[in-house]
């Protein structure tokens, strides 16, 4: 069996088909045998009648040849008589002399003995005829003729009797035959169904590894290489294909693995390069930072302020002091959040410095709720906003520019508004600023370095809302209001 299973698919399928056909053949053979024996039976049904007819014929021949001999005494007829008498006695000898319940058996017996009797009578007739004993052979002749008639009557009756019983047998046989036909059809049908089942099952089993293979191939096609590799059980075509497939899957997997490794190496190299660059930048920054020593700057400015005080130039002293404070804030404030007061102070200082620089043409007003000054807000916010208002709003207008700083409470929000009466903005610009798409002019010399987009994004991060900053402008030359509404954290 294992040998068969190891053989090629073709052989397997052919074997199964041959097996199924063999079963059908054997069953058919049996059915045919059955039909054959039944038809033989049917043939034999009227056998008795045929035998009787033969007997009748032989009897007639004996009688005829005897009569002919008696009337013509030819040697032909005598010969005929001997032949037919022998035949008749043989045929009669074949008859059964059993006595049974069945009338035709008894009739057969009677016919047998009567025929024997008849034959001896006929013989005597012939003998006396040859002896030319006229008186006697006449008497014998009459006697044998009577017997002949009686036997014939018996034969006719027996024939009839047999015919009746044989007809019954025949109809029984016919019924049996019909029955057999039905059974044969049923058996053939069953065998056919059985064969279909067997073939289906075998083919299924043969195809099963192939199905598994196709499932696996499907999965591999979808990119999943982590599959259970189908096993080849037998060395047929399917087994070979499965083996090849398994090898292929494994080598593809290996190849992918190698590819990934080389990619990873490349990525690592790129990362190294980037870090190197960052380090370089960092070093450069540190170098620059080291150059601007805040202490040196403050000491220098303080020295300037003292000199101005000694020379009695009060205004110069104040100015230098303010500048020093302004820069100190910048240097000092490395923390994220500061108090509102500090931011407001920074704005004060900034305006003062500007007024000195531009000979005091900026009007600066404050409306500040002192209670709110102790709250916290992100550092370096207000000064860039004010700087923006000055640079873009006021500097480019004619006439005296004014800036109003408002700190107030609105519901549970801390609101800070910077209002200028400068050039204003159109809604497109506002949109651009709020969405951070406006590119500020980086090369402006008096830029503090912190752009509006930086401010906005830090505010949004701090408040966690987008509407933390709002810009309002009525249009060209109508000023602008930048309003911050910060969450008012409870102390």
């Amino acid at each position: 069996m294992n040998k068969l299973l190891n053989s090629s698919l073709q052989t397997k399928i052919i074997s199964v088909c041959v097996f199924a056909n063999m079963i059908i053949f054997v069953v058919n053979l049996f059915l045919l045998l059955g039909i054959n024996s039944m038809s033989n039976d049917m043939d034999m049904v009227y056998q008795d009648n045929r035998a009787l007819n033969e007997l009748t014929k032989a009897l007639d021949e004996v009688q005829d040849s005897m009569t002919l001999y008696l009337s013509s005494k030819t040697s032909d007829s005598l010969e005929n008589y001997y032949i037919s008498a022998q035949r008749l006695s043989n045929l009669a000898g074949d008859l059964d002399d059993k006595i049974t319940d069945l009338s035709y058996n008894r009739m057969e017996r009677n016919i047998k003995y009567m025929t024997g009797n008849y034959l001896s009578e006929v013989e005597q007739t012939i003998d006396t005829k040859r002896g030319r004993n006229v008186e006697k052979y006449r008497a014998y002749y009459e006697k044998s003729t009577e017997l002949y008639k009686d036997i014939k009557a018996y034969l006719t009756s027996l024939n009839l009797e047999l015919f009746v019983s044989n007809s019954e047998n025949f109809s029984t046989l016919i019924t049996a035959f019909r029955y057999f036909e039905v059974v044969a059809v049923a058996v053939t049908f069953l065998v056919m169904i059985g064969n279909v089942i067997i073939i289906t099952k075998f083919v299924k089993t043969m195809i099963m590894p192939l199905k598994k293979l196709s499932d696996s191939a499907d999965e591999v096609a979808d990119g999943n290489f982590d599959i259970v590799l189908p096993t080849a059980h037998y060395n047929d075509e399917v087994g070979i294909v499965i083996g090849a497939f398994n090898k292929m899957v494994i080598s593809i997997k290996d190849y992918i693995e190698k590819l990934r490794e080389s990619l990873e190496k490349e990525k690592d190299m790129q990362e190294k390069e980037l870090t190197m660059e960052a380090h370089l930048k960092d070093a450069q920054l540190k170098y620059l930072k080291a150059q601007i020593n805040p202490h040196f700057l403050f000491n220098t400015l303080n020295a300037g302020a003292q000199l101005a005080m000694m020379e009695g130039a009060d205004r110069t002293y104040e100015y230098v002091q303010t500048v020093a404070d302004f820069f100190r804030y910048n240097v000092k404030n490395r923390e994220d959040t500061v108090k509102v007061r500090e931011e407001v102070t920074l704005v004060d200082n900034y305006i003062r410095i500007l007024n000195v620089r531009f000979s005091g043409d900026i009007g600066y007003d404050k409306q500040v709720d002192e209670r709110l000054l102790e709250h916290e807000m992100p550092s370096m916010i207000l000064q860039p906003i004010v700087e923006n208002a000055v640079n873009h709003g006021i500097r480019e207008m004619a006439g005296e520019g004014r800036i109003l700083l408002k700190v107030y409470r609105e519901d549970d929000r801390l609101c800070i508004s910077v209002i200028d009466n400068g050039k204003g903005m159109d809604s497109k610009t506002i949109e651009e600023i709020l969405s951070g798409t406006r590119n500020p002019d980086e090369s402006r010399y008096d830029n503090n370095g912190i752009g509006m987009d930086n401010v906005i994004s830090r505010l949004r991060l701090f408040a966690g809302r987008d509407d933390v900053i709002n810009i309002k402008s009525d249009g060209e030359d109508k000023g602008c209001e930048i309003k911050l509404s910060l969450p008012l954290e409870e102390k």
Binding site: R106, N110, E161, L173
Partner: protein, 362 residues
């Protein structure tokens, strides 16, 4: 995971083997069982043609195998014979033509049967045939009708004398009835009528039994003090040589001017014919029929009063005795020469009892 996969496959393969084996097994079993069944089935069909086998073969030869009387005798004979491994054939029953007793005798002798039971007559041809049979080693028992001059083994029949006596008594009763009636009706003795008694005798049989019956009947009447003037017995020969002749002969009696007052029938057919004729000629009450045998028809007729009385013969005894005689011959070499079966008279008075008994027997 992989292992279980392999297992599943292996399991399937194994199941496949099982299916295959099972199928083969099933097919083989079915085929074997089918052929066995088929063989038995066939054997059943062919075996039906076999019956019990018997050691000896007797034949019974009668003049009319179809009559109730003979059928009844034959049944009991067959029953008795079968118990002893013998089969009795009612010869002629299976043959298509009609055969006389003589012809059947000839056939039986030619057939070399083991024993012949024959309704014989005193005819010479019959005697010769019986002698021929005995010469051929076949014992012959005469039944109901005897052939006294032959070499027959024994005779089984009814006592003709007692039958005659029974008839005689019935006739006396009829005569007495008549006397009583005439005493009431007529004034002078001269007016008294003579009772005409017609005995239906078969023409072809020179039957001694028949004569015995008649003479015994006459004796009985005389013993009962009836004078010759009161009755007259005439023997009407009924031609039974060919079919239907009996019926015609009996009808002839009724066509005559003087119809007998009493008709005595000595066999079943005559009884039935006489009874039918009486009914047809509207002579119920005028003609008294004394019948023979107790077939259903006759019993019915007695019940209705058409037949005055009938003699019932114990047919069982007839059949049994005849077989018994042949068996005795084979066992002991000889047997009693006469067997007599019982007879009973059935008339209007006891017909009810008889009918009841019949029903019980059935």
């Amino acid at each position: 995971m992989k292992k279980s996969n392999v297992d599943i496959y292996q399991k399937r393969i194994n199941r496949q083997y099982l299916t295959l084996l099972f199928t083969l097994f099933f097919v083989v079993i079915t085929l074997i069982a089918g052929s066995f069944y088929f063989r038995f089935y066939r054997a059943g069909i062919t075996r039906r043609a076999e019956g019990n086998e018997y050691d000896q073969y007797y034949v019974m030869i009668t003049d009319n195998y179809k009559s109730d009387f003979w059928q009844s005798v034959y049944r009991s004979a067959l029953e008795t014979a079968k118990e002893h491994g013998i089969y009795v054939d009612l010869l002629g029953e299976n043959l298509s033509g009609d055969y006389s007793c003589e012809e059947l005798m000839r056939m039986a002798i030619a057939s070399k049967v083991d024993g012949i039971i024959v309704y014989a007559s005193e005819a010479v041809s019959m005697t010769n045939l019986i002698d021929e049979a005995v010469k051929n080693g076949i014992p012959v028992v005469t039944l109901y009708g005897d052939s006294t001059h032959s070499d027959r083994l024994s005779f089984v029949g009814v006592g003709g004398y007692s039958v005659g006596k029974l008839y005689g008594k019935q006739i006396v009763n009829i005569i007495k009835d008549n006397r009583r009636q005439e005493l009431l009706e007529s004034e002078t003795i001269g007016d008294r009528t003579q009772i005409q008694i017609a005995v239906l005798a078969n023409a072809d049989t020179l039957d001694a039994g028949q004569n015995i019956i008649i003479s015994s009947m006459q004796d009985t009447i005389r013993q009962e003090n009836a004078t010759d003037s009161e009755f007259e017995v005439s023997i009407v020969t009924v031609d039974n040589t060919n079919a239907f002749a009996v019926e015609e002969s009996i009808r002839d009696i009724f066509m005559q001017e003087e119809v007998p007052d009493v008709i005595v029938a000595l066999n079943e057919l005559n009884t039935v014919c006489a009874y039918q004729a009486v009914v047809d000629y509207n002579m119920v009450g005028d003609v008294n029929v004394l019948g023979y045998y107790d077939s259903e028809e006759i019993i019915k007729a007695i019940d209705r009063g058409v037949i005055y009385a009938t003699v019932a013969i114990d047919t069982d005894q007839l059949g049994t005795y005849s077989v018994q005689a042949l068996m005795d011959y084979y066992e002991f070499g000889n047997t009693s020469e006469y067997y007599t079966a019982d007879i009973t008279l059935i008339n209007k008075e006891n017909v009810g009892d008889f009918k009841k008994k019949e029903e019980q027997d059935e």
